[in-house]
Symmetry: C2
Subunit: 336 residues, 2 copies
């Protein structure tokens, strides 16, 4: 703080220099009116002269507010490279947090030690609220939030056990819809590359798939995958082709998975959409880069981020809040 040599100027210094009291300077700083034009002018000059900048630590101490909102993202190593939605969610959150005059600070938890440190940070009154992405049910961060009652919102989960509002989409309904349309286009042997069945997003997509197919659902045609990643898609499609060479329709749990599958299909000489129809999920950057472009379901990622931010800002303002489910849209392109 005093890295450049001379110590930081304080309100005290400004007041002295401007020949007014600290109270007046403070009123000036917080534009709470009642400062004469003359005093105002002298203070303005004094601030410039002594190079005053406010010390937030002190301010937070008394106001009990930090004017900062946290954004915690788990498992960033796979998330930033595989899930382009995260970036959009983050930006959406930033939109409304910034509009509310707050600073968004994103906290990455990459290791167990990180989780502990972030939990401490949250507890330490560094942020007034927090939005969380891809959190687990009972990790230390969720626990910390609940124990201190920090205003929070999850995006993309819906564990009813924790009493924190969330914003999500109806994964089940969306998956059912895109599956139905794929089926209606005349496909007979439709399989699914089902990622992350241990997360509710993954489980719901799988359920929607099964629901849409009804009696025609064949468990042999769904291959469970650990991640929403490209390489999972490669692995899964290879497996599916072995199990059922006649497959003519594939629902991938994400666009990245679909992209991986597409590559395998191409390598095996299958034409898409000629021989097999393929659909993804997310409408991420992948979708328009595949050849042919992917039919997929669009997640309103930025809006989800915005909604989550609003959820915590509302709590901060003392308003009642409830979880929200945002609508999705299936976009039909060349792959099916």
């Amino acid at each position: 703080m005093t890295a450049n040599g001379r110590p930081r100027a304080t309100v005290h210094d400004v007041a002295e220099r401007a020949s007014v009291s600290r109270g007046t300077v403070s009123r000036y700083l917080n534009s709470s009116g009642y400062v004469s034009d003359e005093a105002r002018a002298r203070i303005t000059a004094a601030i410039a002269e002594v190079g005053y900048v406010r010390n937030n630590a002190a301010r937070n101490l008394v106001t009990r507010r930090s004017q900062a909102i946290g954004f915690v993202v788990h498992e960033p190593h796979l998330i930033f490279s595989e899930d382009p939605n995260i970036g959009s969610i983050m930006l959406g959150t930033n939109d409304v947090v910034a509009a509310g005059g707050c600073q968004l600070v994103v906290l990455v938890v990459d290791t167990e030690a990180d989780a502990a440190r972030v939990a401490d940070y949250l507890r330490g009154a560094f942020v007034d609220g927090v939005v969380l992405v891809s959190a687990r049910s009972h990790d230390r961060i969720t626990d910390a939030i609940e124990s201190i009652g920090l205003p929070a919102a999850f995006v993309g989960r819906t564990d009813p056990a924790v009493k924190v509002p969330h914003v999500g989409i109806d994964n089940r309904q969306a998956a059912a819809e895109i599956t139905r349309r794929l089926a209606r286009s005349g496909r007979a042997r439709i399989g699914m590359l089902a990622s992350a069945l241990d997360r509710d997003s993954g489980a719901d997509r799988w359920e929607g798939f099964a629901e849409a197919l009804g009696a025609r659902y064949d468990e042999r045609l769904v291959v469970p995958l650990p991640l929403y990643s490209y390489s999972a898609g490669v692995q899964g499609m290879t497996e599916l082709l072995e199990r059922e060479p006649d497959v003519d329709g594939v629902v991938a749990a994400s666009d990245a998975v679909a992209a991986g599958a597409l590559e395998v299909l191409r390598a095996h000489g299958r034409d898409v959409p000629g021989d097999v129809g393929l659909v993804g999920f997310d409408d991420s950057a992948w979708a328009q880069r595949c050849n042919p472009h992917l039919s997929t379901v669009r997640q309103p990622a930025r809006d989800m981020g915005r909604a989550a931010a609003r959820l915590v800002l509302d709590q901060l303002a003392g308003r009642d809040v409830a979880s929200v489910t945002l609508p999705t849209e299936v976009v039909w392109r060349g792959s099916a």
Copy 2:
């Protein structure tokens, strides 16, 4: 802070409950020795009973340290989706910041208003130091850092005008090397898709390309592009093919650009690497997803993040620091 009803417990409460003085509790908290076993036990119990958690605002005020390091990223909308290196850099920074017992807080600046707010945040003593990614020369954030003398480090820039250390790679040398190897493989008409010539990374890559080709350099074969993106690659390759249909070698300024170019080449019936050799830059996730895999130059992104973090931690510790240049490695795959 009092969102859950009862007010937060303080050191005072703990001391009272444990029948010791505030000073003793403080010593216990900061493990600065000199606390009897008996007192220690009582304090431990008291902390649990009243649910004490330290208030960092107060602590920072007196210690003049926040134990937090900032990580500011500009233009995140294009960065997180197009440049997978950013995520790795961030994780690398987090590695060493966390090891140093500090919390990494990442600040995204998406708009001009964001820049101003982040500058304020930095000035407000919320962080002890900061690493910056893809900053411009004279934006308000850089200015803020210099004016208050905040320990900082850039990753990936080298504007000699600002006296802040940076960690980078030798873009020029790396570009020259990969261009030379492409040339050596017998290509005669080698073009370049040159992104971001207004940033030093872009300019240096272009210079390296020109240097490697020497007399054979033909300005007509370099098409300048605004971004390191896939769509820039599509646009650039289309343009290049128009200018010179006989092109048989292409140096792309990034893997994303190369991926876009690859798609265009394929659409125009050119075989890669048969008809035209193609190389990228970054060794990002794109490289292994293209078909064929991209030859490219590997950036030690995570290490760059680590080095940058070390740079600011060292400054904090009062040590002298100097910019560092990390070595790159060209990896030879199927595309050339």
